[in-house]
């Protein structure tokens, strides 16, 4: 699969694999390349407090450390609706 062959706007499919359409019958599309706003991990000024990283409601974050010292954070996600901004 040559990923570059994927179109910019990609149709969204529903629970039965059907392409979702709007009220006019046109396919609903999303742009998977669209970037979410970047979180800024450093304070905006020297005296500003650092903002904690965003955590989505319902997500389960689990942190483990293995015998070799690798720290592994796993996020079991909840919201995966492609039409949710």
């Amino acid at each position: 699969m040559n990923e570059s062959l994927l179109p910019t706007e990609v149709p969204v499919v529903g629970s039965n694999g059907e392409v979702l359409t709007d009220s006019a019958g046109h396919p609903i599309t999303v742009d998977p390349r669209e970037n979410d706003p970047d979180y800024e991990p450093i304070p905006r000024c020297a005296r500003c407090p650092a903002e904690p990283p965003p955590v989505d409601p319902g997500d389960q974050h689990t942190v483990t450390t293995d015998s070799e010292g690798l720290i592994n954070e796993e996020v079991e996600v909840t919201d995966d609706n492609p039409l949710t901004p």
Binding site: P54, I71, E73, E74
Partner: protein, 152 residues
Amino acid sequence: MVLTLITATSASAHYVYENDEVWSNTDSSKCLYTRSEVSHGVGGGYAQSRGLASDDWGVPPVCIWGWDRPAGNLATKWTYYKKTSSGWSVCRSIGWKYNTSKTNVLRASKTFAIYPPCGGGYYATKAWSKVYYSGAWHGAYSIWSGSHYIEP
């Protein structure tokens, strides 16, 4: 790059993944890998992305060992595709997930318990990860897992 299909005796043990380096600094002492995976899971399928600021299973140890990233300095996300008669379509998608504590591997995953979320057929995961270093985000190039058939 690695493209792997592992097949075991159980229908729950199939998975396809690919990984690649998406960023390194000039002397390659620090780097970021993205791994993209689609799997049978427990029957309904499974999508996962990993951002690896370290060596880990499935990633060649060519860069560094355990580059600990503070909270909010490592992120990953994925889009889960379903193949239709007209090509690949988006089935599920998540936004950036950030590490909440010191971490060198960040995974974001979802297991679809019984039925695939958009019907039976071929699925694939497109994954991204990014790392914050020296005042900027790096990486964020997509990695395509390869496709995997999941029964209805």
